[in-house]
Subunit: 537 residues, 2 copies
């Protein structure tokens, strides 16, 4: 019926191309804690990304090949990202906080051909390089003056390497279902799994962030979230498509965050709830007044009521997002409707703690009975498994058919999170399936117990896990980090506090005061605590 | 390399589905000039759109079938739009201001099976219905109480018709390259051409509007632009994806616009420059103070300097967009960078009059030499033809292979607009190819002459066309509409005014004072003036 057919794929690197052409002077700022502030802009980032593509192609890197990065948030990390995907290769962001043997395992599994690394990680790589046969070359993200002596194969300073390219290079089109990036799940159980992100999905999640976070034009975004973590939730693309300012930050500590917000008039930032408590509990001398209402998007765990209330008082508007590595980052949002402002603070916080509804660019989000694959009743109480499907859900794990098929059984991606659906259609997580504590046949949500603990004025962080118990099967065991100056708060006091708020069987039988083990992105590592809980008397 | 493949098409009606589920109480308001204000919301619109789909399917309408609408901006127009495309049928919006024989021509060309019409157009349709063999049924967009007696075949009141559906219906997925909507170009030369819009392109243009217009969350949009005109530039989808408030307006006159802005705290509206002059030249008693800075997106013709300056003073921020029916609406934007605010008002206006740069969701926009298909130099003076390519460019004209191939020769869509590219990459229209006046071998841009005339304090509208001339080939002939109370301004005065601003050969040889003929969307119909110019002595 129609005339000529044309095919214009959605490709994520085209975003920086557009931004460079028409918003070329928009800044990309990188701040270390003490050092000078580095400033560049979209035009430069794009020009250098083209050189990266050109240079990789000369090194024989082809569509589908994997190139690893082990790097913090800097302008160089941003530009190599675009440069790698620009030729259809896959940018494999490695979490630098992993143990060396874990890094070796995933580089071997991904069969990375090139590794680009911050100077800091050269010694670690030297230790494991003998066990990385797929890697042909190491590129150190620095210039000649700072290049260390190293035994790494074909090692070269990044600035020397790209200087060999003249940048007269054009990105070609390829299928939008080509992989653009990948990263590995943290692997709290079993081997890590490689989650592959495709151009189409990443483009649509980037657009989804623009819509759900109300990014407007030219926002100023502070990179507290690591770029290596789940594509930096796709914000490398989100920011560029709205021609915002990237403010890259290495150290996620209170003082540099407050300084950056004040200096650059930051409008948006993202982070786990732990970033919020870091800000709230900062010493007064590190805090600075905010230049305006700052949008804070949080994910990874439901924000506790006390934290939400304090963030509001501190001048942040908190938006609660939810997603997984497998969903390209956040794929659901707690949409906040004006009428909720009429509720009292505890009711508001209870509503805001819900994970909410799907992004407009996610096609399906529901809570299903994993046995029957039927949706649970919209009653706010029937537990099921949270499941996703659509463009912003990964297509599978790299070279792991068994895990991919299991994750997608019945046509939905199984999140492993247990939740309910409220009558208004908002979903709420009750727990990770493995974090549910089953005591005397009753399910206890570890989140509910943690929430009660976090309301106590002395508690900074809390994690509750199952402790094996002969009589009850399991009982709740709490690990608690107290705020500075609150070291006198006792176990008895906290148990009594919980008994005022929870059914008795839900209250912790044991409370251990300690610093909680956290991942590089601030998630509490419950698997470690579950091990420790076995020995708690 | 990967696990399961899944296909999640981008479908425009999914946008209202999402909005209804999670922003169900967001309002859709319809205002007539005098009558009561009608209020409904996304949940209702979606529920009724499902009934439209269900009812159409029962009437045998299938994927690819055309259903015409002849209607003003109302909630019913919005909901049938979604209902038609929801089953893969094509919503053919007919311009109600066309002559009856033109309406008949395009309904026959489109082979519309159903016509949905506002009550106002029943008499017109009755006159031509005998010549519309493809139409099986007429649905009058009203309820039983208002249903007129009519001879139209199988005529039914819309509310009765949808009441026969229970709404228990689900939209199925189909290919995103399925057509969603269509409309006919105004056809100033030759037969009108049917421009077909596909789901993928419309979805991406809707997203493009969100980004370029900085829509944020929950904007309040005033429908001064007709929905039937070029998909309402895709704003039916743009607004719904950001869960904004639709304020539908029938009469594009100053008083109802100012009233609507004040009553509903409108944040955004769109319109041709003529809407701006309507607002600016309104009598003082019709004007109302704006509740805040109002975003006004204009397209169709470059906004004249005087109008831009006056709009700024009146509290509007004008964004200049550019596109054609064939590009789904606006596909380029005059991106406004902060540093331009330092320029003086005439320089700002000169910069703002440029058509600008491509949308992030348009893959290609350039000015090419149509002979060689090579880009013109970026010098701001070499003339070429403006060309487009990408997802938000139509795939072709309905049943018109010859015109489609001609339009896409060399792989680019030929706009027929003549323009230049400035050193900063911004394009600027100099004229429609057919609007260029060639006088003594010199090209005269009609826009340039109009701009000069519009700067005169007495001139409300101006249009300049070629008048055949024995000696010079052509000379510029101006048609001018004077402002109220300025009827004493003479031809001689305006010619002298132009001579101060333009090379003499560019000044109008003739000036005719009259009301200018305009299309339903406010575009001046130059083809009529070209005819009249032949007889001007």
């Amino acid at each position: 019926m129609l005339g000529l057919m044309q095919d214009w794929p959605l490709l994520c690197h085209r975003i920086i191309e557009h931004a460079a052409k028409y918003h070329g002077t928009q800044e990309v700022i990188t701040r270390s804690v003490e050092g000078p502030i580095h400033r560049t802009n979209y035009a430069e980032i794009h020009a250098r990304a083209l050189k990266v593509s050109q240079r990789l192609e000369r090194d024989g890197i082809k569509l589908g090949d994997r190139v690893a990065t082990i790097a913090w948030n800097t302008w160089r990390h941003l530009e190599v990202w675009y440069g790698i995907m620009g030729i259809g290769a896959i940018c494999h962001t490695v979490n630098p906080r992993l143990f060396p043997e874990q890094i070796a395992w995933i580089i071997n599994h991904a069969q990375d051909r090139v590794v680009m690394t911050d100077i800091t990680f050269v010694p670690v790589l030297e230790k494991i390089a003998g066990d990385l046969p797929s890697v042909e070359r190491y590129i150190v993200l620095t210039d000649r003056a700072h290049m260390p002596q190293t035994t790494l194969k074909n090692a070269v300073a990044y600035e020397d390497w790209i200087a060999e390219a003249d940048g007269k290079f054009e990105w070609k089109n390829f299928d939008e279902n080509t992989a653009a990036a990948m990263c590995y799940t943290s692997g709290t159980t079993g081997d890590p799994k490689g989650v592959v992100y495709h151009h189409r999905g990443a483009y649509l999640l980037a657009v989804g962030n623009v819509i759900t976070c109300g990014m407007g034009k030219h926002p100023v975004y502070l990179w507290t979230l690591p770029m290596f973590h789940c594509n930096g939730w796709c914000f490398p693309w989100t920011l560029s498509i709205v021609a915002g300012t990237h403010v890259c930050l290495r150290a996620v500590r209170a003082a540099p965050i407050f300084n950056a917000i004040a200096d650059h008039k930051v409008t948006h930032l993202c982070g786990a709830p732990i970033v919020m408590s870091t800000l709230l509990n900062a010493p007064a001398e590190e805090k600075k007044p905010l230049p305006h209402l700052v949008q804070f998007a949080t994910a990874a765990a439901p924000p506790p009521e006390a934290v939400l209330a304090a963030m509001k008082d501190a001048g942040f508007n908190v938006t609660h997002l939810y997603g997984l590595t497998e969903t390209y980052g956040p794929a659901s949002i707690n949409e906040w409707h004006g009428e909720r402002e009429a509720l009292g603070p505890p009711d508001q916080a209870a509503k805001k703690a819900r994970q909410g509804v799907r992004y407009p660019t996610l096609e399906g989000l529901d809570v299903l009975d994993p046995e029957t694959m039927q949706p649970v009743p919209r009653d706010g109480s029937t537990l099921g498994e949270v499941m996703f499907r659509g463009n912003v859900v990964m297509k599978g794990y790299l070279k792991n058919k068994v895990a991919s098929e299991k994750a997608f059984s019945g046509g939905w991606f199984h999140s492993g999170d247990l939740g309910v659906v409220h009558p208004d259609g908002y979903i709420q997580l009750k727990d990770r399936s493995k974090d549910i504590i089953i005591s005397g046949g009753e399910n206890i949500s570890s989140i509910e117990v943690e929430d009660a603990l976090l309301k106590h004025p002395s508690v900074l962080h809390a994690a509750v896990v199952a402790r094996p118990d002969e009589k009850w099967g399991e009982t709740p065991c709490a690990f608690v980090e107290r705020k500075k100056g609150h070291n006198k708060t006792t176990e008895r006091e906290l148990v009594a506090w919980c008994r005022d708020m929870l059914a008795h069987y839900k209250c912790p039988r044991h409370i251990v005061f300690c610093e909680l083990p956290k991942t590089s992105t601030g998630k509490i590592q419950k698997f470690k605590l579950r091990e420790r809980a076995k020995g708690v008397e």
